[in-house]
Symmetry: D2
């Protein structure tokens, strides 16, 4: 992992995507981020959060763990009403951003544009992909991290690390050949510590989770389970 | 103007779109919003601001004037990574949102969806349109306001109220026939008080401005000029 | 119905959308169009067909019934690789086009642009909408026809005329208030003659159908059933 | 070049993109395609044409040179109104398709989807890219050809082979490292035989041209000039 990233996150990583759940909007976003911070401080697991745009500044202002945006646009300062300027989330305290999540797919040239703008603004990029080949294509664009997620498993509770281990290990194999520096995460259906541990055994350095934590009855307990499974 | 709107804004309105200019991002957004508030308090002109998503909470927390979002998505709480949930900007303190700005055009069915969601969350909608006929189509969907802006004049400094007065008065005529309650604004190229006053004479109840204020050498002086011209 | 339309189609109309079914691609498109023509000649029902772009020229060259495109782009001649130039489908023999089908939704300003370009090239426009309010918005843009189709019923076999008659009659009521000239069709789930007859009783002048005909065991028999129910 | 491609095209290639110019629509498409065929027969230069969807069948039916589509959608047979089914252009006589042209950019996952569908239907894919890094990303997805075109030069008459030779040679270098089989073309601003010859010297195996041929006063003479420069 290059120094530009290792100064901000450490592996293994759990990146919690807050999506647009009410359980992780506004006051709830802050509360959940504090739970993530608590687990991070207690266990030393690197727990990162990706709240909605509106909540980034407040979350980043009140917790010490890394905060990501869920998306940025490939734009520079100017006339781009309703777009997300990389500088805006940087100034709000985010250290990086998801890119091309399956719920917010981008054109190929725009992924390249986003990564370029993220480098200019010193933001870490986590590019999402849907299979091993697309992961390699994404890795060619020199992002900091890749998160492979078969879209058909997202939100199902069927963990990618069990249902499609070959997508995960195939991504690791192929991506490492073209870009050894990129950190590989996987996601989709991950709700249990054992799913996350299985992801690490397949060669990833962490997981991207959403409902598994956000909608857990007890997010603290769920994250502690992740920490115990991933750090042992 | 229905009570649902008149309790929050009063006409004439100057709605300042912060777009993604650096002069209106982060700390600068707050500073500019305070200038807008100052003019509003001194002159009684209703000055509203539309900062970037990330800046809404802080701006709304520190100024007393109405705050709008630049966009919301037609989604409910759920799995919509990278989207703007209406509830999120409401909780952050916005009272409404721009919809379908020429730099963030929406599909017709999504404009309907956004207006429906905005009503559910008690947000004021300002739907942007590019000509009189599109304004009527937009007005049919029962938004609170329409802002007609010929895209080719946006950012030019050539005011729509001078260059294309027939687009403005045509919009007023046609829209009032199908929806008497809707508040009509116009925009594009408006930088001087006299342009804004001309817009009112053409039958609108306010203006949508961006670079004319955000990039003015002295935004305070520029807004005072608007106030003097619009309130006399 | 204005003369510009009545010279090309007559009501009641059955407009068969070929979508991208294999049963209506290439040779199969031609065969199905000939079945539609046969029923039209035998029963005097106005049966129109909307094959894929690639098949328009051949279908229009070999049948005498009206041929529609499934989509056109709001572009003029120029640098628009991969777009559908209105002039191209006109020259190929189409007399009109679907616009904004639920499987090919357009931005509001682009619907206006498409209708403008269609008028310039003398093409009939059939704008699809998803509910009564959106139908009114679409009708404001002065298309020749509106086809209201609740997307959740498309392809289900549950006919809109039974499941959501209020969407159909509401569209008829509201649209006729703003645009008396527009021809109103409805669609979604229509597979039986009685569904089509019910649509006429609700005030429409025809139906938009797809799988109900294309995937029928015997498209000829299915269309004859439509003709008998709609013409009695 | 793999046998799957070499049986259909041979290098060097001139691929003429007809875009939506009137000079290459309908009857004009056929006439221009015949000029391309004439030059191909006379000089043995492999001239390919990419007419609009509507014109593919007729062009492919009347000329012996390879015909490409300008775009296909990543869809299978089904409910995709207004989309371009790979099978439809195959049956119409096309041997391949442009993908992700700068005027019809696709999402990354959709480029992968298009290439997958093209393989299934035995269509050659020519994926367009805007710079060397994006070319590598595209090449990772295993298309048959890459066409690198800096968008800012398209239609300018300023040839990429002179204005940005490093983009072309950089693409050749980087792409060949990850995918030796892919055929590399370049485009943008190419109007003269010498521009095309320069493209070959930079390591490409052909050019993608549009207005340089379509809008030439004498397309035959222009193509003969290409042939002389590229084949010597």
């Amino acid at each position: 992992m290059p120094a530009s990233i290792s100064s901000k996150v450490r592996t293994p990583i759990v990146l919690v995507n807050f999506k647009t759940y009410l359980e992780s909007t506004g006051e709830n976003a802050l509360r959940l981020a504090k739970v993530c911070e608590k687990v991070s401080l207690e266990t030393k697991l690197c727990v990162c959060v990706a709240p909605q745009f509106v909540d980034i500044a407040r979350v980043a202002g009140e917790v010490s763990i890394p905060v990501f945006s869920q998306h940025i646009d490939p734009v520079s300062a100017g006339s781009f009403t309703g777009h997300v300027l990389p500088e805006s989330i940087k100034e709000a305290g985010a250290i990086g951003t998801l890119v091309n999540h399956s719920e917010r797919r981008l054109k190929l040239a725009d992924i390249d544009g986003v990564i370029t703008r993220a480098h200019e603004t010193n933001l870490i990029t986590v590019v999402c992909s849907n299979n091993a080949l697309v992961s390699v294509a994404a890795a060619s664009l020199k992002p900091d991290m890749i998160a492979v997620e078969p879209p058909e498993l997202i939100g199902t509770g069927i963990p990618v690390s069990k249902a499609k281990p070959e997508v995960v290990s195939g991504t690791v194999d192929l991506v490492k050949r073209v870009n050894r520096d990129v950190v590989i995460l996987c996601g989709a259906g991950i709700t249990r510590g054992e799913d996350a541990a299985a992801a690490l055994r397949l060669g990833t350095e962490g997981v991207l989770v959403a409902s598994g934590i956000v909608k857990a009855k007890d997010p603290y307990a769920a994250l502690i389970e992740f920490a115990e499974a991933m750090l042992k």
